[in-house]
């Protein structure tokens, strides 16, 4: 047995005898990183939990074997071991460790991280407290925790997100496990922090020679970290092989679909993305035959939906489970494609056109209050002197790490916050230009219907007590003189516009999936025929293929209705695909703004360079070329002198800390860096990357 873990014919059953995982075979090779990829609901996490025997009630392993080769050479079938037995406890303590997406739920807030890290040592290796402390600090140093001696005695709330992740990794690795299971460990992190954590995991894996089972939905992360890839769909592995094989020559239509729905940063950024239609069905409704056939563009009726698929070896350790490569391959036309709906290119703005929205010197400070009488003792400068223009018919992308003030800017424009200073001028060409901050009465009412917002979380932004019809029609009921019949007709039209059946108007939001709810939220934003739509991380909470469906829909709606978007996101791939121009924000200010081409191909601010370098899987180059950002966004309640990025900038000089750099450059590309002219910044985009379908 060459593999550390061999899973054979594993079946995991939940309540009402629903099989979430069916007959899964998976080998985890020793000393390598295996990535398990798939959309949510495919059974990735539950498979990982089965290896540790920690499946949540009422799930249980109902068949198959999980063979673990132990350190002494003996083979242990985990599936046949009782979850509470001492053997299993020993496996969890010494052989297999796990890290999660959310370190706050993994680490106890009541104990110092040192306490939690050393607990495993005193428990499993019977170390003295002093030895354990020394070992714990050494471990923290190894995972790159700054100032490990002091951090050892810190509580979780005193650490930043990346530091918590490091603490959790230290805790998992303290007993030198032979297998580390990492369940989406970087999904909740900023792109810059994610890059650092991925580097760390790769380095730890190389140094210790442990095996890593890395679960993710992001193929960029796969390209970055994996040695081998297994693609999972509805409880089964559909394709498996070495990372280069699978990403460069994907065979299974599901793998090809996942790759095609990823925004690309080589070639044409704005090339329309091809989404996998539909979504992962619940396991109780697993389709017959090949379970992927309803979403597959190659599917042949009367064959794919009847006959279940077998695994086919293609050589080079490349396995695929698809009829197109099986004994009856001739029946399937591998060139059959479902053509993506053609997206008419939005009208390019004329250079002389007047901006639809001009933001000038905008400030938004959140007061920090304390004491009984709530006296103001400070302020968080979330939006600090921002000026920008948005032209009619374009999409302006707004990027930055979390905490940089990008959401606050969007919410201030739409009117959820009252700005503390500056002006926002709105000129739609039909009415007199108006200032959003001073408008009152009828003008304010009109502006509210002209500027609309889409929220990030489609579950929270739809009132669960109201029918879809009332949710979408609310703005019409409140603001205009439409009759009930007109509103009804309008809601129906909007529903078909966003790809939902007009019959759904009578239902409640809980009847819909996340992607469908976001479609409803978009319909609500469009109900008042707005000119400007502010999308605040509108696709960030969605699965890859659903995300692509929504992006494509938003693009075609833009062309159809002449919309202007302010698209706020932390995902640079999405931004590149949807935006005409991009603004990069840092610590409440815009540090660089320009056309998408200019920003991605010719970044002039070191922060933009670092953000681009952090996108996983792009331009996989030699590690020494990498730019990695340490630290985090400065505390916005501190008044900063000089460039706010100077503390994290590898090019910073004393002069940078002396003056605040102004936003300068041409009308098409402006940046705020005093050294912009001398620096030769690199970009990773445009280089060949994952070669897809």
């Amino acid at each position: 047995m060459d593999n550390l873990v061999e899973i054979r014919d594993l079946t995991i059953t939940f309540a009402h005898s629903v099989d979430v995982v069916t007959g899964l075979d998976l080998d985890i090779p020793a000393g390598k990183t295996l990535c398990l990829v798939g959309e949510s609901g495919c059974g990735k996490s539950v498979t990982a939990k089965a290896i540790l025997q920690v499946i949540d009630h009422p799930g249980r392993v109902s068949g198959g074997a999980i063979n673990l080769r132990q350190a002494n050479g003996a083979v242990l079938d985990i599936a046949a071991t009782k979850p509470t037995s001492p053997v299993m406890r020993h496996v969890r303590g010494a052989d297999i460790a796990m890290i999660h997406q959310e370190p706050m739920s993994f680490l106890s807030p009541l104990y110092t991280i040192g306490n939690q890290i050393s607990e495993a040592l005193t428990l499993h290796r019977k170390m003295s407290e002093k030895e354990a402390r020394a070992e714990g600090i050494r471990m923290l140093e190894q995972v790159g925790m700054p100032d490990p001696e002091r951090r050892y005695d810190s509580y979780t709330f005193q650490l930043s997100g990346g530091q918590r992740q490091r603490a959790m990794i230290a805790m998992a690795l303290i007993n030198q496990p032979r297998l580390l299971i990492a369940d989406e460990p970087t999904t909740a992190l900023d792109v810059t922090t994610q890059a650092n954590i991925l580097d760390l995991l790769a380095q730890l894996q190389r140094d210790s020679g442990m095996a890593v089972l890395f679960i993710t939905h992001d193929l960029g992360v796969v390209a970055e970290i994996a040695d081998e890839v297994a693609v999972m769909y509805l409880g089964k592995i559909v394709e498996r092989g070495p990372v280069k094989e699978v990403l460069e020559h994907p065979r299974h239509p599901y793998t090809r679909g996942l790759l095609a729905s990823m925004p690309r940063l080589d070639g044409d950024f704005k090339a329309p993305l091809k989404a996998i239609p539909g979504m992962v069905p619940p396991p109780a409704l697993r389709p017959t035959g090949c379970s992927f056939h309803p979403r597959c563009e190659w599917a042949v009726a009367g064959f794919c939906n009847m006959i279940s698929v077998l695994e086919t070896e293609l050589g080079n350790d490349h396995m695929v489970a698809c009829h197109a490569y099986g004994p009856q391959a001739a029946k399937i036309d591998k060139h059959a494609t479902r053509t993506p709906a053609a997206v008419a290119p939005a009208e390019r703005r004329a250079e002389s056109m007047e901006p639809l929205l001009s933001v000038r010197d905008l400030h938004k400070h959140f007061p920090i209050r304390s004491g009984f009488f709530q006296r103001q003792t400070g302020a968080v400068r979330a939006v600090n002197d921002i000026s920008l223009d948005i032209y009619p018919g374009e999409t302006l992308g707004l990027v930055g790490e979390s905490g940089c003030g990008k959401s606050t800017l969007g919410q201030t424009i739409v009117g959820l916050h009252r700005a503390d200073g500056g002006a926002i001028r709105f000129a739609d060409g039909e009415h007199e230009p108006a200032d959003l901050l001073t408008a009152r009465g009828a003008t304010a009412k009109r502006l509210r219907t002209d500027i609309r917002m889409i929220f990030q979380d489609p579950t929270g932004s739809l009132n669960p007590r109201m029918r879809v019809r009332d949710i979408i029609g609310e703005v019409l009921q409140v603001n205009s003189r439409f009759s009930a019949g007109e509103i009804e007709a309008k809601v129906q039209a909007l529903l078909s516009k966003v790809g939902l059946s007009p019959d759904y108007a009578e239902r409640y939001p809980h009847a819909f999936s996340g992607g469908q709810r976001q479609r409803i939220a978009i319909a609500r934003a469009l109900a008042s025929d707005p000119r400007l739509v502010i999308a605040d991380e509108a696709v960030s909470a969605l699965d890859v293929s659903v995300q692509t469906q929504i992006i494509n829909m938003m693009k075609s709606l833009q062309a159809e209705m002449g919309l202007t978007y302010l698209f706020v996101s932390h995902d640079l791939g999405v931004i590149a695909n949807i935006s005409d121009r991009v603004a990069v924000m840092y610590a409440g200010r815009i540090v660089e703004i320009g056309s998408t081409e200019a920003i991605f191909r010719n970044p002039r601010h070191p922060y933009t360079e670092a953000l681009l370098a952090a996108i996983p899987g792009r331009g996989v180059s030699k590690p020494r070329d990498r730019i990695r950002l340490g630290g985090h966004v400065p505390d916005p309640s501190q008044q900063l002198v000089g460039c706010s990025f100077a503390d994290r900038c590898q090019y910073a000089q004393p002069a940078c800390r002396a003056v605040m750099p102004p936003l300068e450059g041409t009308a098409d590309h402006r940046f705020a860096c005093i050294r912009a002219d001398e620096l030769r910044l690199r970009t990773v985009t445009g280089q060949p990357e994952l070669v897809g379908a």
């Binding site: 069905p281 007590r465 009847a511």
Partner: protein, 382 residues
Amino acid sequence: MSTFDETTGQVAPIAAVHQRGRGYDGHWALVWQKFLRHRLGVAGGIVVILAYIVALIPEFLAPVTLEAYNPSYSYAPPQAIQWGRDDGEGWRFLPHVTAYKTEIDYNSGRRLFVPDPETVIPIGFFVQGEPYRLLGLIPTDRHLFGAVEAGQPFFLAGADRLGRDILSRTIYGTRISMTIGLIGVALSLVFGILIGGISGLFGGVVDNLIQRFIEFIQSVPAIPLWIGLAAAIPQSVPPLQVYFLITIILSVLGWTSLARVVRGRFLAMRSEDFVKAARLDGCGPVRIIFRHMLPSFLSHIIATVSLAIPGMILAETALSYLGIGLRTPIVSWGVLLQEAQNVRTIASAPWLLLPGGAVVIAVLALNFLGDGLRDAADPYSD
């Protein structure tokens, strides 16, 4: 798989697949479905409904009226029901109880009740008794059950000091005890929603002051405060007014916890995305509160209310037991328990504790009901 329709490119709602029609169910339908899955809550709900039916028509359910007494049956123990009788010609079906003969035990000096098999008191359903008005409207003299011949001794649960039927009095006591909780909570609710709403809505200094005030009120020891307030009610006040004054006294403290719940909900709701979206839709504050926020936590308030009623019932029982709450001739479970104030009486006549049993059952049932409602209040989380 029916979730994706290739011809239209549309995706059907998941509920359409799971369970046809579920997507059309509104909030209250979902709350109801989830509540029905909480067995204990449903059982509690049934008991509570029965208790309120008793409170509505005690005249019909009780065998005798409040005033009926039989001095020779002072502290008489419960009579056992016998189903038939052998009168020499064979066994005959005749539900009855037997009267008691009294004997004096000269050793202990106590009166003993000995069943007298000769004096048969036939009992039955829908017997004629004292006339009354059902629900205060319909004049009748039928009682659900009792001695066939009105006025004969019939003490299923024993008798008290004056020879009054404990069972009948407990049934009458249900009316006051169950309603005092309702009215007290209703008063608390008005104050709670009003003050909590103001606190949550305005925030800042107003919120701070109200919260400190609530903390002050909650820090006042409850029983001494009640005693003080109850003692301030003059003896000359008619019993009915005492009843209302007591409910007010109970809600003086009761509103604080409700106000806290309402404020918390308001604060949480204010930052919900759908409330922000409603603001962006142009809804005014009144529309936001009544159309978006209030419906969202109404079910939570109902659950909190059903959990607050038992506290009121217990408080009334405690006050009346101590003799500073309600007074005869008004009969509540607490008033009835006054009879059981000394150990010797309880030792010789434990049936006097029957109203205490009624309190326990009512409080438990309301708590179970409230638990079930609280779990069902947010039906989207499962």
